[in-house]
């Protein structure tokens, strides 16, 4: 491979790479605002100016192609002077409102001001004023004064989404960003501009002023919005999820995620309608009860039905671990055949960028693990539609509904569920389906447990707990911690956050199995995963560490046919 020398260090580069790319791949950060690895080069911020031997002027490293033997200086006196000058220029008209700016703490301008600026301003004139608080679209707010005109947001809309919605208008230091006449920034990916905005000019309207970023703890996990499984960070403070940001994974979602995933996949975690503690229906009301009481009630009720009068339906967003144990429980302990998962495909809702028509996160996982009717060892169970029609005709009288709000998904199912003699649900929130339930077990949400999902590509990815339930302890369970979490004292209110009495589905199933006389030895999700890895050839060689932060592509093509549970 050809080599260039950056700051005296010889590094290899791939032909065609620019200097900034080559440097970045070798751990040398050349400061920049407008350059972004996934967007075209615009070269307007001028911060990445470097000195290259035999070139008369400083050149921008983002648009200079590396060539064999090139000698680059990123720290020479000339470069530092130019960088300081650019920083000074950017700062002269930039408002000093970091204390009230949402970007503070994760702001490139702030970071570079610490790293590369002289710290004092020679600018004694009146700063320019521009329009502030402009609603560019339903989800994004724009502050013209904070904008440094790097054009990342414009290029994102043009190049990644393919929707020309944003543009510069005016000239010189009057330049500002706006939407085209009659247009709004409302593409399904609009909020990514708030991530790539290097300053606080574009902010997330849902998150604005909710929290300083350093008060929150980010947890590396997976979006629960669809079968894509975008890698995300879940940001929590005081045991509450406040926002989601995408996390780079070039095999899945690059730097991006859709607005729906960002906005609509975490609010149920914080919601007031969370199920906390098991509930039994007594005199028409769901009343909180003890875990043992709920298990005993479920046991006695289920035992009163014949095996073919019982069915189980699970969400196809269960984790691999939950799926494994649920399947084991239903087929071995209950010895039932009528078990299927609920497919959530919305035809026409997908696109060619990220969004999938399949709204479940682990449907591929169910398929690969053979959890489909007829695939179990005993064979011959009923499919989803058959289970529904059997309930309707009264042949199935009891249903175990796992992490799925059937009625919320399709209101037509209200009629079906009302026919049941006995309904036990494992639910995260009280919903339309639990209103027909006789027993409700409180399930942890995806934000409160460990586990794995297999996305539509057959890529296994880990979810991690970001919010604690009463059985968890943030520091003991190795969860990510903000400064608040780390340094809080007993006197701090954030130590007294609300915790729900909820458990991961596998644990609830484990308790239920125990009531039926079957003991599972698992104490954590990882142990279940390890057992799967030892028994299912598809998962051979995998463990949580191997799956890691970015997931692993399963060799689904070769092993698929042999798999059964």
């Amino acid at each position: 491979m050809p080599k260039i020398i950056i700051d005296g260090k010889e590094i290899e580069f791939k032909p065609g790479q620019t200097v900034i790319q080559a440097a970045r791949e070798n751990g040398i950060e050349i400061p920049h605002f407008c350059w972004h690895p996934s967007l075209s080069v615009s070269g307007n911020c001028r911060l990445c100016l470097v000195e290259i031997e035999k070139m008369p002027k400083l050149v921008i490293s983002c648009s200079t192609t590396a060539t064999e033997g090139m000698v680059v200086q990123t720290q020479s006196e000339k470069v530092i002077a130019a960088r300081n000058a650019v920083m000074e220029f950017i700062l002269i008209n930039h408002p000093l409102d970091c204390p009230i700016c949402d970007e503070a703490g994760e702001c490139k301008l702030q970071d570079y001001t610490y790293q590369h600026s002289v710290g004092e301003s020679r600018f004694t004139e009146e700063k320019n004023h521009k329009e502030k608080r402009i609603e560019l679209g339903p989800n994004v707010m724009f502050d013209g004064e904070r904008c440094i005109s790097c054009s990342r947001c414009i290029r994102f809309c043009d190049e990644i989404v393919g929707e020309k919605e944003l543009t510069f208008i005016k000239r010189g230091d009057r330049v500002t960003i706006t939407t085209f006449p009659g247009k709004k920034l409302e593409n399904p990916y609009s909020m990514n501009v708030t991530d790539i905005c290097p300053v606080g000019a574009l902010t997330n309207r849902d998150f604005r002023f909710k929290s300083r970023v350093w008060e929150m703890a980010p947890t590396k996990t997976i979006c629960s919005g669809c079968a894509r499984g975008c890698n995300i960070d879940l940001w929590t403070r005081n045991n509450e999820v406040l926002r989601i940001t995408p996390r780079q994974n070039e095999d899945v979602n690059s730097f991006w995620m859709c607005d729906n995933g960002r906005l609509n996949t975490f609010k149920h975690v914080n919601a007031n309608d969370r199920v906390s503690g098991p509930h039994l229906r007594k005199e028409g009301q769901l009343i909180k009860c003890g875990w043992d009481e709920a298990y005993a009630k479920t046991l006695s009720e289920l035992k009163s039905f014949a095996k073919d009068e019982i069915a189980a339906l699970a969400s196809s967003s269960l984790t691999v671990e939950d799926t494994y144990l649920v399947s084991k429980f239903v087929r071995s302990t209950l010895n039932m055949k009528n078990f299927d998962f609920v497919r959530k495909v919305v035809a026409g809702s997908g696109d060619a960028i990220l969004i999938r028509e399949d709204k479940a996160t682990n449907a591929k996982g169910f398929e690969l693990m053979g959890v489909e009717p007829g695939k179990s060892a005993s064979g011959g169970g009923l499919k989803f539609d058959e289970i529904i029609s059997h309930i309707e005709s009264g042949r199935i009288k009891a249903l175990i509904l796992i992490e799925e709000d059937l009625i919320g998904w399709n209101p037509a199912f209200e009629k079906i569920l009302s026919k049941l003699d006995f309904l036990v649900t494992i639910s995260t929130n009280f919903d339309a389906s639990t209103s027909f339930a006789n027993v409700v077990f409180p399930a942890s949400t995806y934000a409160e447990k460990n586990g794995t999902w297999i996305n539509f590509q057959g890529r296994i990815q880990r979810i991690r707990p970001a919010v604690t339930t009463i059985e968890m302890e943030r520091s003991l369970d190795g969860m990510s911690q903000s400064r608040w979490d780390k340094f809080g004292t007993d006197f701090d209110s954030w130590g007294k956050a609300k915790k729900n009495d909820a458990r991961p589905t596998w644990k609830i199933i484990s308790g239920l199995a125990s009531a039926f006389g079957t003991k599972y030895k698992f104490t954590m999700a990882e142990e279940i995963f390890n057992e799967i890895a030892h028994t299912n050839p598809l998962f051979t060689g995998l463990d949580y560490d191997v799956v890691g932060e970015n997931g692993v592509q399963l060799k689904t093509e070769t092993v698929k046919k042999k798999v059964t549970i």
Partner: protein
Amino acid sequence: MEKIVLPEIENFHQLDVYIQNAGYEAAKSAFTQTTNQIIDTVKKSGLRGRGGAAFSAGLKWSFMPKNNDKPKYLCVNGDESEPGSFKDRQILERNPHQLIEGTIIACYAIGAKSAYIYVRGEYHKWIKLLQKALDDAYEKGFVGEKMKETFGTDFSCNIYVHKGAGAYICGEESSLMNSIEGQRGYPRVKPPFPAQNGLWGNPTTINNVETITNIPPIIKKGWEWFSAIGEPKHPGTILFGVSGHVNNPGVFELPSGTLLTDIIYKYAGGVIGGKKIKCVIPGGSSMPPLRGDKLEGVKMDAESLKAVGSAIGTGGIMVMDEDTDLVRVLARIAKFYYHESCGQCTPCREGTGWMLKILNRLVRGEGTSKDLDLLITIAKNIEGNTICALGDAAAWPVKFMIARFREEFEAVVKDEVSLEPKNKVHSMRHTANPIAPVQV
């Protein structure tokens, strides 16, 4: 004295008069030569671009790729927006057919099937005149499909007049191309250069109107003739547009290397009221100004002006007499570049406004001598660090005007200097701990 670009022939702008004077003969002879021969002739003639940078025209043409299936384009730059520059307008008015003929020859030489003559939007009248000439040339079969028959060649090209919309920056070659494409007038990052990646991503050459107008005589009379005119390193005649405090302002076509003092006193009629000259800007408002007491022996060509610390630019000579307030002149020039900065890249976008704010303060008498050094620093920080040359154009007048006329500026600033900046902030650099590398 020979006039190459603006011959003193009555009604030369009319097609029949132009034809009577051997018009379109150069094109005819060009089509009997190979493109390499033409490029070679232009190269040897020493013709240098008249748009400001004085780059060899033949060399520029030779950058156009030969073995490339992509369409090629020629842009003729008549945006002429630099204050003090008004010479291309004379060509559009008095000699449009020579421009058209030059365009045809240039198209043939570089292999372009389409040429755009980009004229600044404010030139309504001259756009009409050029369009009229072009329509006539089309009608007579000198341009377009019919030229194959007229010239007995299998080459043909089309010429379009493109009207600018009033932005100085669109005279910069790459924003000119963006403007033609219908994009925002933002200069492009170079490389890639237009010869590789120009109009719509295709190989493109951009020449100034005056440069192109020089082509037909060079083809007709040969490079030896042309290279013998004026200064050997910058041969030919140059259109000097003289403005300011002179008795007879106007455009004068003179051999390169003519003495600046001759231009002012012999051709432009000397300074109004016989006053002394305080300052001359020799090449349009962005070029470094010269002191009035240092004009003796200054020759007007690229190399000679470089030697005295200025540049030929577009040959727009602005003469200022001894009573001129240079602080206000500089503030006005700074206002122009502030107003015309496209706002794409940081140093120019922010720096032009900052310099103007300080200069306005100086004009109001609220400046300090520290401001003068600050102005020079800002200018130096802009210079060379921007995407296009507008940064330099904005920086040079400030940098050189203050450096060369410091006494004028010292006279209006207060001596008392507060060393403390008004908005001194605590220096963060010294308190901050090293922080982790910044994520993208």
